[in-house]
Symmetry: C2
Subunit: 168 residues, 2 copies
């Protein structure tokens, strides 16, 4: 399910555009600069919206990179506008779009590490299930929650996107 | 990865106890009834804390039930206290603990439906990846966000729990 889990992250990142459209519509209606939203937080010691989005992007991008050993494009955290965030998200979506099932073939025996883990490693499957998936959705849901808390008109359908439903 | 994904949901639900302990500590320090937190929302048209927790529980429980065809225990949404929510969460953790890899053997060819889907179905793998996982973490992260927004002292480690790290 490597391909499916990262494919789903790619799909979820694609949903952000509709959230941004709704955010910009609120800003236009209320006559404020939409980019003001990027610095809002739910708690003073939580990350602001812009950082939640950057972290969702990095969690998916670096997750796919570490699980497969494929280099990821560098993306410094310099975004200050929705336009710049759209470009970053598009870059991650394009990167995730390069993966096929064969990229994940060696994943079950690969180990993963990060500088902050002080030399420790995780198996790639554990890293995906225990770290990447929970963190990705954490930052995605916080992005959604910050927007909703500030009056942006989005709903669960904008979060989930179109489901692969069919008649039986 | 069926076993791993649901095992991770079980682990994440186990983290809620530490969040509740922190919520109760704040209530004691500030001299308010901890159960007041259960009715708080991030937005007037989002669900309150108690419902976010119930939905995280149901998403995991009904997800495992629908993907495997194993009956799930009924749990009416009647909780009004953290004590009652702990009992509900414990019930879901116990239910998820009954699953083994063999329960998921037929999952890849199973189809799933819900009353609100108007007769449509999803394959069980699509349902898990597109619906269960994103919804579970949505409600879990909203639970976390509501608590953080109201001053409860929890951090990312309380969200993720202990990772399966080892020395290389």
């Amino acid at each position: 399910m490597y391909t499916e889990l990262f494919g789903q992250m790619k799909k979820q990142l694609g949903q952000l555009d509709a959230w941004f459209v709704a955010a910009e519509a609120l800003a236009t209606a209320k006559k404020f600069d939409a980019n003001v939203l990027l610095e809002l937080r739910l708690s003073p010691d939580q990350f602001p919206l812009v950082r939640q989005i950057q972290m969702a992007c990095d969690t998916a991008k670096l997750g796919a990179s570490r699980v497969t050993g494929k280099d990821a494009p560098a993306q410094p955290d310099t975004e200050k506008t929705f336009a710049e965030l759209r470009a970053r998200i598009d870059g991650v979506i394009a990167y995730l779009g390069t993966f096929t099932a064969s990229d994940f073939e060696g994943a079950s025996t690969r180990t993963v590490t990060q500088p902050r883990w002080e030399g420790k490693v995780m198996s790639a499957p554990d890293y995906l299930i225990e770290h990447v998936v929970p963190n990705f959705y954490f930052h995605l849901a916080h992005t959604y929650a910050i927007l909703r808390h500030n009056g942006v008109s989005i709903g669960k359908r904008d979060y989930l996107g179109t489901l692969s439903q069919r008649l039986p």
